[in-house]
């Protein structure tokens, strides 16, 4: 188990390193540069432009800039925003909490409703299953930006239950303001997870050992817990991990629609402004979220299935 954790950590570091090279390089290759953003419609003299480029270290070759950035990061310095001059840690850190809370809330909703619906559908074939099937068919086709505008018009504009825009202050206010954005992101994932859960549970329910246990008169809840749910968990956990990392990416769109001050707006504006250090930090956070979600999913699978507790094949 310890080796598995180490193995995954090594994978995380390698992935981050590789993706940092790719992100840094692609930003560098795309047309335009941060000093163009800073100068806007001004036409500075060549000397003034060179001075700004020098101050931002844009006059150095790519490998040198990447190395400077990398050594800075290893010393805990994420760099300085090229546009506002603030430290990247300040710009990102201030909003990261909100985005994390939003993702957590979304995934709680997805897990509770998704697995709940899947379980009900699996155990009640016929009308209930058909209804759940219809509901999930609709929900998987509702992208978050469509859900956002629907939710705003119904629950915020007409009913006034939730704020239409922005979030409140304090943890309670923030949570209240994040409910609609979380639901907007959750709708699609709920349908997806419900489908996966239903199929996984249905497959386990039909297994011979389950039927035998039930026929032998074992309590139904014990059979469901020990034989059905436990064995159906691996695909469900994999799906939850994938959905979680996907949710990090969709916060970009939903935060904009609801004017939630998370990292979404920061990411989008920084990409447009070619603010390398900020984009690099946010992109790596997204990559890290993806890798960590997968690693956690593997670890949980290893916990529930002893056969997976080796370093060789986990995912």
């Amino acid at each position: 188990m310890g080796r598995l954790v180490l193995h995954r950590l090594g994978g995380l570091v390698t992935t981050l390193l590789l993706s940092s090279v790719v992100i840094f390089g692609s930003l560098y290759l795309a047309p335009g540069s941060p000093e163009d953003v800073l100068f806007g419609s001004r036409q500075p003299t060549a000397a003034a432009r060179a001075a700004v480029a020098h101050r931002l270290h844009l006059d150095q070759p790519l490998p040198v800039r990447y190395w400077d950035w990398l050594t800075g990061v290893l010393h805990g310095d994420l760099g300085t925003s090229m546009v506002t001059g603030q430290s990247v840690a300040d710009r990102v850190g201030g909003h990261l909490g909100t985005s994390l809370l939003l993702v957590t809330l979304t995934m709680v909703i997805v897990v509770v409703l998704g697995i709940g619906m899947g379980a009900v559908a699996a155990m009640r074939p016929g009308a209930v299953d058909a209804a759940a099937n219809a509901a999930t068919s609709v929900s998987v086709t509702v992208p978050s930006f469509v859900a956002a505008s629907l939710l705003i018009s119904v629950f915020a504009v007409h009913l006034g239950w939730f704020p239409e825009s922005g979030i409140g202050s304090g943890f309670g206010g923030e949570l209240h303001g994040l409910v609609l954005p979380a639901i907007a992101m959750a709708i699609m994932s709920i349908g997806f997870l419900a489908r996966i859960s239903r199929n996984a549970l249905r497959e386990e329910l039909q297994k011979e050992h389950v039927q035998t246990a039930l026929v032998r008169g074992l309590p139904r809840w014990a059979v469901l817990r020990d034989h059905v749910f436990r064995n159906a968990l691996p695909p469900i956990i994999t799906a939850v991990a994938l959905l979680t990392s996907g949710t990090f990416a969709s916060t970009l769109i939903v935060e904009t629609a609801f004017a939630v001050p998370g990292i979404g707006q920061l990411t989008i504006s920084s990409v447009g402004q070619k603010d390398f250090p900020v984009v690099q930090a946010v992109s790596l956070l997204l990559v890290a979220a993806f890798v960590i979600c997968n690693a956690v999913s593997d670890l949980i699978q290893a916990l529930i299935d002893p056969r997976l507790r080796t370093t060789r094949r986990t995912a």
Partner: protein
């Protein structure tokens, strides 16, 4: 001094939502009807004055956060909406665009080449230090310093010196007669910063974590660089008559039109200027506040097609005239702008002279330029030019839904008169390059711009793109008569004389069409019932408008 907008909207979300809203609304009542009428008279320059104090005011800070707090660095909506409250210019531009004393208590032009300012001895910076002539000289001359790369440097082209000429006096000297420069002292081109602080901070001056020291009614309390900037009232502001009524002003930055409309109609924002046209129908229905739609000519904003070079198909003046003749400006104003825009027949339209004492001169000349779309005539003109079937390319900012729709309309128009129009949506960076880099421009025959000037002065607008030295003269067009007339306008103290020179130049420019005017957006202001005092004109740009905001 003439800027373009570069809306860095979010391509995906903004577009998707914009399409959704328009799809939803079009099934009900047509959008064009909802906002086409102005609901206040052009004589009214502000909403009712604010009476009582406010503990907090929240306002839309426009589509992105400012890049810098330095007033000279970037001239665009976010900076110009906010920074006038922190770093006001030497003179105050009132809501009706008239100039009145500010940090300078008086000013006069003893002759056409000298402009003398007497400073208000009471004026102090937010750190308590008095505003001295040395600060003023430093602040103005920063605009000429190539290392500062001021966004307003072109305003200073004809300035030969700025000198302290007395204990409280500063004199600006011009290389040629100039009665137009003084207007720049009422916008951020004349913004005053504390010399000692600016020199000490050097290149970091204005960064979010360094800030600025200025003499405004507000100071920056906090700025996260992305979502909000909070201003707080300067308790020791030197001009009690214009002290701020709101203890704090929080600016929030967002680019999604639905999010803006929702924030305003729910009251989480108290108000907004410069609203996207797609918010009009929702905000008209808001119950907790009012959407003010200005009349024709309520802003200096102008949307034009800039001809990039005079060599391609558009190099033939007849083709430019034909394209201009065929554009259905009324239709564009009604449908693309939900009625909150007017057809524009000269780049410096009514917004540039509505409030001028020489209005009648401008108006008579403008009426001669008005024309309705004439496809048949335009087709004939294209044939005469032998341009039938020739291709014309139009670049536009792909992130702006309005620009994209406008480009499509222009494409249909061009195709209808026998041209082959190709439209190219450009990412923001590449679109921005069109204004800076001749090589980038060379790839397209023309591109769409939303231009504006902070103050209504037609001579300056024309000088910027239709003279050899113009900062926005991208295609190199020039005409000796126009140069002479605009020079005459610059040196004319009498507004009527100036107007006569400008309309003479305008007559030539309107025929030659180095830029093809399309429409002029109207001023849009949303204001919550709980607050009042916002200006109804474009004067909010670059001035301490927030100080007048208070409880009704």
């Amino acid at each position: 001094m003439h800027r373009r907008t570069l809306r860095t909207a979010l391509p995906l979300a903004a577009l998707a939502l914009a399409l959704l809203t328009s799809a939803c609304s079009s099934s009900g009542s047509p959008l064009a009807k909802s906002g086409s009428k102005s609901n206040f008279s052009t004589a009214q320059a502000t909403t009712a004055p604010g009476q009582g104090p406010l503990s907090a005011l929240t306002w839309y800070g426009d589509y992105r956060a400012p890049y810098s707090e330095d007033p000279l660095k970037t001239a665009d909506y976010p900076e110009e909406t906010i920074l006038g409250n922190v770093c006001p210019p030497l003179l105050t531009t009132n809501a009706d665009y008239s100039l009145s004393p500010g940090i300078a208590s008086s000013w006069n032009q003893p002759d056409a080449e000298h402009l003398v300012f007497d400073l208000n001895p009471k004026a102090t910076f937010s750190d308590g230090h008095p505003v001295t002539p040395a600060d003023v000289v430093y602040s103005l001359l920063r605009n000429q310093d190539p290392n500062e790369a001021s966004n307003y440097s072109d305003s200073y082209t004809d300035v030969t010196s700025v000198k302290a000429t007395g204990a409280e006096q500063v004199t600006v000297t011009f290389s040629k007669p100039d009665y137009l420069f003084v207007r720049n002292m009422g916008i951020l081109a004349g913004s005053i910063v504390e010399k000692a602080f600016a020199v000490k901070e050097g290149a970091n001056f204005g960064n979010a974590n360094v800030g600025v020291v200025c003499a405004g009614p507000y100071t920056v309390a906090s700025f996260d660089g992305t979502n909000t900037m909070v201003l707080k009232r300067n308790p020791d502001y030197w001009d009690p008559a214009h002290a701020a009524k709101a203890a704090t002003v929080t600016f929030t930055f967002m680019s999604d039109p639905s999010a803006i409309a929702n924030a305003l109609s729910s009251g989480s924002l108290d108000g907004a200027f410069d609203l996207p046209p797609s918010t009009i129908s929702q905000l008209n229905k808001a119950t907790d506040g009012k959407l003010y739609v200005g009349a024709a000519g309520s802003t200096t904003q102008n949307i034009d097609l800039i001809v990039s070079q005079l060599t391609g198909t558009l190099g033939d003046v007849r083709v430019r005239q034909a394209l201009s003749m065929a554009i259905d400006r009324t239709g564009i104003a009604q449908t693309l702008f939900n009625g909150a825009a007017d057809p524009l027949y000269a780049v410096a339209g009514p917004g540039f002279w509505q409030s001028s004492p020489a209005k009648s001169v401008y108006q008579a000349a403008y009426q001669k330029l008005e024309q309705s779309a004439d496809i048949a005539g335009a087709t004939k003109l294209v044939q005469q030019a032998g341009a039938t079937g020739k291709s014309v390319s139009i670049g536009y900012a792909a992130s702006s839904p309005t620009d994209a729709q406008l480009a499509e309309v222009l494409q249909q128009t061009g195709d209808a008169i026998g041209l082959k129009v190709k439209i190219i949506g450009l990412p923001d960076q590449q679109y921005g390059d069109l204004f800076i880099d001749p090589k980038a421009r060379a790839a397209y025959d023309s591109f769409i711009t939303i231009n504006y000037l902070e103050y209504p002065e037609a001579a300056d607008m024309y000088t910027s793109y239709a003279t050899k030295a113009g900062a926005q003269n991208f295609n190199g067009w020039s005409d000796p008569a126009v140069e002479a007339d605009l020079l005459k306008a610059q040196g004319a103290a009498d507004p009527v004389q100036r107007a006569e020179a400008v309309v003479a130049a305008q007559a030539v420019i309107a025929k030659a069409l180095p830029w093809i005017p399309i429409v002029a957006p109207r001023a849009l202001l949303f204001q919550n019932k709980a607050v009042t005092g916002a200006p109804l004109t474009f004067s909010y740009m670059d001035n301490a408008w927030a100080a007048a905001m208070g409880a009704p």
